[in-house]
């Protein structure tokens, strides 16, 4: 018996149990969701331990062998992504209890929350292209509903805009799948990779890859495809903003791009330098443009939304550098940014819960009234800027190291200089919300909210101090899983014949 189906089957089961039980017991629904999230966290830890031993674990759905059947593939990169998902989901679930107290129909929230989790887990684990599309849409459609959860005019407008943009991305991905299926007659990622290798880098190859890059760029909100994000992420309830900005855009945009580029299409800096330069340009564009736009935002969460677009650029930069340090840095950055931005959105939720506004001009003097929230914000912000020894520093350090090793000194310097933007907009919130003197009524955040924030703060500090272990056991293997490129397909089929 294998644990791999549990990753997405448990949240799916929970999602459909909640409507049955949730109408009668509100607190129980929350406890149940939190317990399920914690169970996922334990499973994800077990998965990370399992991939230390095996490079790749294949699970055949219903024992149908690939390429006919659907396989779930757990390698180091998938295990890493699943772990990050479960951390952010757990913190968000913990945070939701008191935050949701002024919403009606809470069980709907928890159902959608579990569905979005199941969708993301499915995307990172599947070894089948169409299956990936289905899970991606499960996650995406749940997120549209979650953004609109408050059903005010602002939320509905943001959700509609997000849905239109998101579906353009989703349908472009579907078009790419159709083209691939028409030419290769297979949907299994490993099998596609084999067939694509025979074709070589033809026009078809680049067309399909271009369509996919377009689709995933919308999902990941790279500049110039980012316009939905600064509307959608602030409009959602805070735990959902935390989930969407923390991990959702990375699963739907970054994970999928990286998996396709490295393992399915078999590209590396050596055989397609031009493509990797495009990734770097996309990254730099996002960092600069969104960073500059963030500077004069007046809305707490909207500023964080622009910050997400900006930080996503660093991840793309790391992948674009394309050597081991760059890719490991990008993967490390996924973890660091998920923790930091997840935490920052939770602090925004605590502030909104206490004061009822997220306008930076109206907020003031919360540093003394909400000490836990203020200090959580400081840790998250410092990690995001890249102050040692927090986890964000090591992530950025590895990317810069990658740029230096690749002989791109200008890129390393640019990346450091652009951190100044992060510093500036972080200090802007710090100053206007927490330090500035002023009279705003606020009580300290409720206990469950504080636990959720402290949980992420502890992870940011501990993983920062133990960065060597993170590199050795989690990030390094994940980077190697990507960089082994086309070997992926041999491993998938190899393990199938041994019948793991």
């Amino acid at each position: 018996m294998t644990i791999i189906p549990l990753y997405f089957a448990i949240p799916l089961l929970a999602a459909f149990l909640i409507p049955v039980i949730g109408k009668f017991a509100k607190t129980f629904t929350w406890l149940f969701t939190t317990a399920v999230s914690f169970a996922l966290f334990v499973i994800a830890l077990y998965g990370v331990a399992a991939v230390q031993e095996f490079p790749l674990i294949v699970c055949k759905m219903g024992r149908w062998a690939p390429p006919l059947g659907i396989v779930m593939v757990l390698d180091a990169f998938s295990a890493f992504m699943a772990l990050v998902i479960s951390i952010v989901v757990f913190a968000g679930a913990l945070f939701s209890y008191r935050y949701l107290s002024h919403y009606t129909g809470q069980w709907k929230f928890y159902t959608l929350y579990m569905l979005i989790t199941a969708g993301m887990m499915g995307v990172v684990l599947t070894g089948d292209l169409f299956n990936m599309f289905v899970f991606l849409e499960i996650a995406a459609i749940s997120s549209y509903a979650l953004v609109a959860f408050g059903v005010d005019a602002e939320e509905l407008e943001a959700s509609f805009k997000y849905m239109v943009m998101g579906e353009i991305g989703g349908l472009t991905f579907l078009l790419a799948i159709a083209l691939i299926y028409a030419r290769t007659s297979t949907l299994n990622l490993a099998d596609i990779s084999n067939v694509m290798q025979m074709f070589g880098q033809t026009t078809f190859f680049w067309t399909v890859l271009g369509l996919m890059l377009f689709a995933f760029s919308i999902k990941a909100a790279f500049v110039p495809f980012h316009s939905w994000l600064p509307d959608a992420h602030p409009a959602a309830p805070a735990p959902v903003s935390s989930l969407l900005s923390g991990i959702f855009i990375k699963v739907l945009g970054i994970y999928t791009t990286a998996r396709m580029v490295f393992n399915v299409f078999g590209l590396s800096r050596a055989n397609a330098p031009m493509f990797f330069n495009i990734l770097i340009v996309l990254g730099l564009l996002s960092i600069t443009f969104a960073g500059l736009t963030a500077l004069n935002q007046k809305d707490y969460k909207r500023l964080l939304g622009y910050s997400s677009v900006s930080q996503i650029g660093y991840i793309m930069l790391g992948f674009g550098i394309g050597n081991y340090y760059g890719v490991a840095g990008a993967i490390f950055f996924i973890l660091a940014h998920a923790l930091a931005k997840g935490l920052l959105f939770l602090t925004s939720g605590a502030v909104v819960h206490a004061t009822g506004t997220r306008d930076l001009n109206k907020l003031a003097g919360l540093g003394e009234k909400m000490p836990t929230t203020a200090w959580s914000f400081r840790f998250g912000g410092l990690s995001l800027i890249g102050i040692p020894p927090l986890v964000g520093f090591w992530a950025k350090f590895w990317i810069i190291l990658g740029a230096l090793k690749a002989g791109m000194l200008w890129l390393a310097i640019t990346a450091i200089v652009l951190s100044g933007l992060t510093l500036y907009y972080y200090l802007k919130i710090e100053n206007s919300v927490f330090l500035k003197k002023g009279k705003v009524d606020a009580k300290p955040a409720p206990f469950t909210m504080r636990i959720a924030m402290v949980f992420l703060v502890v992870l940011i500090v501990v993983l920062g101090l133990g960065f060597q272990q993170v590199i050795d056991f989690v990030v390094g293997p994940a980077a190697n899983a990507l960089l082994r490129g086309l070997e992926y397909s041999q491993l998938v089929f190899g393990y199938v014949t041994t019948g793991f």
Partner: protein, 144 residues
């Protein structure tokens, strides 16, 4: 929502049962003939929608119907994932077809596939009906 004329009501009374039974037939023969859980579920939802359109419904009972349909929807999904889990527990593989396969082209064949079709039929029928009721509920709000 108000009902329609007497002619429509009488005709609906006659055909609605047949439509429903036809939907059940499509679901149960999903593994033998074209159709299956989704198509059959849509037909069942069609029967339910037709009844509401012809006879009309009070807002209160519509709310109750929506809750019941939504519970059935969850039930269908739970049934489906329960079958998948049963494969994992009994045979050690998710979605394993652990039931005896039977003679091909007979009604009792295909192992878990007819069961999956039934689960999908419940889910889709109840789901589409819920969507219809939700849209109808919006109409009330607009009229008020």
């Amino acid at each position: 929502m108000r009902g329609m004329s007497l002619v429509v009501k009488v005709v609906t009374n006659i055909v609605v049962g047949f439509i429903f039974i036809y939907g059940v037939y499509i679901i149960l023969h999903g593994h033998l003939t074209p159709g299956g859980g989704f198509a059959g579920g849509v037909i069942i939802a069609g029967a339910l929608v037709l009844r509401i359109l012809a006879f009309g419904v009070e807002p209160v009972s519509e709310k109750r119907a929506e809750e019941r349909a939504s519970a059935f929807e969850s039930l269908g999904a739970l049934l489906f994932i329960g079958i998948a889990f049963a494969g994992l527990i009994i045979g050690g593989a998710f979605f394993l077809n652990f039931l005896p396969q039977g003679t091909p082209l007979r009604l009792l064949s295909g192992g878990i596939i007819p069961l999956c079709n039934i689960a999908i039929g419940i889910k889709v029928g109840a789901g589409l009906f819920t969507i219809f009721l939700a849209l109808a509920a919006i109409k009330y709000v607009m009229e008020d």
